[in-house]
Amino acid sequence: MLLFHLLLLALTGVLLWMLRPHRLRHVGWLAALPPLVVTVWLLGQMNTIAAGRFPAEQYVWSPQLGLDLLLRLDGLALFFGLIITGIGAAIALYTGYYFAGNPRLGYFYGLLFLFMASMLGLVWADNLLLLFVFWEGTSLTSYLLIAFKLEDSKALEGARRALITTGLGALAMLGGMVLLAQMAGTYTLSAILTQPASQFTDHALYPAALLLILLGAFTKSAQFPFHFWLPGAMAAPTPASAYLHSATMVKAGIYLLARLHPALSDSPLWFWSLLSVGGITMLLGAITALRHYDLKAILAYATVSQLGVLVFLLALPSEKALIAVVVGILAHALYKGPLFLVAGILDHATGTRDIRQLAGLARAVPWVTATAILAGVSMAGFPPFFGFLAKEMLLESFYQFAEKGNPIVGWLGVAAVVVSGAFFVAYSLTLLWEPFFRRQVPTNDPGNDAAPVHHPPEFVLVLPALALVVLGTALPLLISLVEKPLLIPAVSAMAGTKVEFHLALWHGFTPMLLASLFAIALGIALFWARATLRAGLERSPSWLDGRLIFDQIVDALYGLARWITQRIQGGSLATHISVTLLCAVALLLYALLQLDWRNDLRINWAALPTFTEVILAVLGIVAAVVTVRTRSRLSAIISIGVVGVVVTLFFVFFSAPDLALTQLLIEVLTVVFLVLVFYRIPPRSHPPTPSATRWRNLAVASAVGVWGFFMVLLSVEGPFLPSIADFFLLNSVDAAHGGNIVNVIIVDFRGFDTLGEITVLIIAALGGYGLLRATRLRPVLVPAQSPDSDENATAALAAKEPAHA
C-alpha cells in the first residue's frame, strides 16, 4: 500500500500535467482528492502504529548496491506523512483557484505532485540510499518550482542558489550516509537504528559521518550560514512557497536529524553543533524578519527562525525536547502554511505584497483577516493557541536542561528563546496590524495610497487556509485526542524507545508561563518601536546576508574554471593535445616507477622478428619520418596513410582480421578527412615555425612514442592480472551465440561500453555539425604575419566553438 500511495501521487502529477487542467474551472477539488485519500489512509493506520506494528514493504531493486525499495511506516513517518498529505490536499485545492485559467497550471500541478511523492518517499524510505534519491527528488522539483516564472531573472537566480546549496549539502550527506552504513554494516535504516548508539558514537568515523550528514540537514533546512537560499526561494509561486519552503521540504533536514537521533545524538559534537547553529539561526531569522517589507520575505525569515528553533531543540538530550520538536513542527505547519496562503491571496487581490502599500484590508476581506488573525496569534505564541503550547514546551526543555544539565547553557537557551520569541511577537503583530487594521499607509513611504482590492478573493480560495487554521486552533484544546495515536509514536521513534507523556495546554503558574508572558510583553514593546528598529536593522552590514558570500564563491569557481580551461584547452589544438598526451605519459611513468624491473618484465630476446616484420617496421618508420619532414601537406597526408596501412598489415600477419578491416577503413576515412580539412584551411603562407615550438613538439612526440612502446611491452610481458581473453574464448559461443569474439565483445560482453560509445559518437557528430556550420558563416582567415599558421587556424576554428563557460 505504501508504494501504491507514492505511485498514486506521482501519477496524479503526470496526469494533471498532461491533461491541461486549466480548462476545468473547479479542478482544484479534483486535485485535492488523491492527497486526501492518502491522508485518510494514514489516519486509519494510526492505531496499528500506536500498537507498535509498523507496516513495511520491500521490493528488490539493486541488491548489489545494497539498494532496495524499502518502505516503512513508523510513528515519525506517519507524523510527517500526515503533514505532507494533509497540507498537500489544502495546497492542491488552493492552487486550482490561485492559478485559475493559467495555461501553466498543469505544469505546476505536475511538479507539485511529483514533489509530494518524493517528499512522502523521503519520510517513508527505510534505506539510506533510497532516502537520498527521494531527497534529491525534492531538491529538483523545488528548483523547478522556484524557477517557475521563467522570465524572472531573480527567480532563476534564486532557484540556482537553492539547487547548488542543497545539492552540495546532499552530496556531503551521501558521503556521511555511506560512512554511517560502513559503521553499521547495512543501509537499512530500521536495522541501523536498533543497533546500540555507542557503536556509532565511539567509532573513529563518527565525527566525519556526523559532520557530513549535518551539512546535508543544515543546507536543506536553511540553517546558518546556508539560510540565504530560503528567502531567495520566495520567487516561487505562493502555493509552492507555502508547501515546500515552509511546511514540508525545509523540514526534511529536521526529519533526518530526528530520524537518526537514536543513533547519532549522544555526543558532545552533536550537542554543540546543533546548539550553536540552531541558536544562531533562530535569533538571526527572528531579527531579520522584522526588517523586511515583503510579506513573503517576512514569512521566509520567520520560517528560517522556526527551523533554527527545531535544530536548537534537537541538540538537547531530553525526551521533553523531542516532544517540543514534534509539537513545534505541527504547530508551525498549521500556522505558517495558512499565512503564506494569505500572502498569496493579498497579492492576488491587490497586486502587491509590500506591507508599506497595504492598509485597512480587514473590512474588504473579512474571511482572510480572520484566517490571518488565527494564524498570526499562533505564530506570536499567544495563549491558548498552538504556538503558545509549542513555545511553552520549548522553554520548558531549556529550563529542565538548566536544572538537570548545564545551567549556563540552559539559562542562555531560555534567554535566547525569550528574545527570539519577542521578535516572533513583534513581526506577527506587524504582519497583522499593518495590512489589515491601520487606517492608511504612512505618507513618507513609496506609493502614498494604500493599494485597493482589485479582485475580492473567492471564498474557496480562503477555504484551505481557513481549514488549516481552524484545525490548528482546535488541536491544542483537543491535544489529548491526537496524543496517543500520533504524537507518542512519533516521539518514540525519535527517542528510539517507547515514551509516555501527557500534554496539557495549561501548566499552571510555572516559571515558563512567566517567561512566555515576558516575551509577549517585550514583543509588544518591540512592535511599538518597530520603525526605529527597522531603521537600525537596515544599516546592518549586508555581508551578514550570506547570499553575497555565496555569489562570490560561485563567481570565483567560474573564474577558476575559466583559468584552467584557458591553460589546457585555450583554443590551440597543439597545446590541447600535448596536455592530454603528456598526462597519459605521466600516468605511465608513475606505473613504471612502481615496477620491479628485474622480475616483472621477462622479455624474450631470443624471439627474433621475421623478415616481413622488419620490412614493415622499416616502412612504417620511413613513412613517419616523411610525414614530419615533408613540406607538402598532401605528401604528409599520404605518408600518414602509409603508416596506417603498415599497422593494418601487422594486424593481418597476427591474424586479427576484424582489427585489420577496421583499421583499414579508418585509415581510408582519415586520409579523406584530412584532405577535406586541409582543403578548407588557406594555404601555408607563414614564416617557419619557431625552433622552440619545434623542439617542444619533438619532445612531446618522442614522449608519446616511448609511451606507446612501453604500453605494448607491458601489456604483453607485464606483471598484470591474468588475461581475460580466455574467458571470452570459452564463453563466446555458448553464452553469446557468436563465433567472432571481437564482435561478441562489442555487442554482448561489453555492450554497455558500446552503448556509451555510440552515444558519444552521436554527440560528437551533432557538435561537429554545429561547429562546421558556424565556421562556414564566418570564413576562417588566418593573419599572414602569424608565426605558426596551422596552429592559429585550428585556434580560430576552436574559437568558433560556443563559449566554454
Binding site: 576484424d658 555510440i758 552521436i762 562546421l772
Partner: protein, 142 residues
C-alpha cells in the same frame, strides 16, 4: 559522366560496397565483420558517391535522413538492451531459434544492438564527410 574511373566508382564500386556492408553486418557475429565495420564501409560507399557525383547530389539524397538515422540507431540499441530486462537484467542477450526447413536460424538481441551500432556509425561518419566536403564551395557563396 566523362571519366571512366568515375563511372566505375559510381556504378560498380558503390553497389559492391553496399552489398559487402550488408554481408559484413549479417555474418559479423560469427565471422569477421559486424555493425561498426559495416557502418564504415557504407560511409566509404557514400564517400565514393560524393567523389563521383559531387557532394550536393549526395547531400540532397541523404542529408535529411542522417540525423534521424542516428536517433533510430541509438533507439534500436537501447531497445534491444531493454529486452534483456525480461531475462533478468539490462543487456542480457535474448535468443530465439527459428526453424527454416532443416536448418535453424538463431536471432538474438545482440544482433539488433549491432544493427543499432551500424546505423549510428554510418550516419555519423557520413554526416561528417558531407559537412567537411562542403568546403570552400560553401565559402564562395558568401
Amino acid at each position: 559522366m566523362p571519366e571512366l574511373y568515375l563511372w566505375l566508382l559510381d556504378r560498380l564500386l558503390t553497389p559492391l560496397l553496399l552489398v559487402l556492408a550488408l554481408v559484413l553486418l549479417l555474418v559479423g557475429h560469427n565471422a569477421p565483420g559486424g555493425g561498426f565495420i559495416a557502418g564504415l564501409v557504407v560511409a566509404v560507399a557514400f564517400l565514393l558517391q560524393i567523389i563521383s557525383r559531387g557532394d550536393d547530389y549526395v547531400r540532397q539524397l541523404l542529408g535529411p535522413y542522417l540525423q534521424p538515422i542516428m536517433g533510430i540507431g541509438l533507439l534500436l540499441a537501447v531497445m534491444s538492451a531493454l529486452i534483456g530486462l525480461t531475462q533478468g537484467a539490462f543487456f542480457t542477450g535474448v535468443w530465439w531459434k527459428i526453424a527454416i526447413g532443416s536448418s535453424t536460424l538463431e536471432v538474438g538481441t545482440p544482433m539488433f544492438f549491432d544493427m543499432g551500432v551500424f546505423l549510428v556509425v554510418l550516419a555519423v561518419v557520413t554526416s561528417y564527410v558531407l559537412e567537411l566536403s562542403r568546403g570552400p564551395a560553401g565559402q564562395e557563396e558568401q
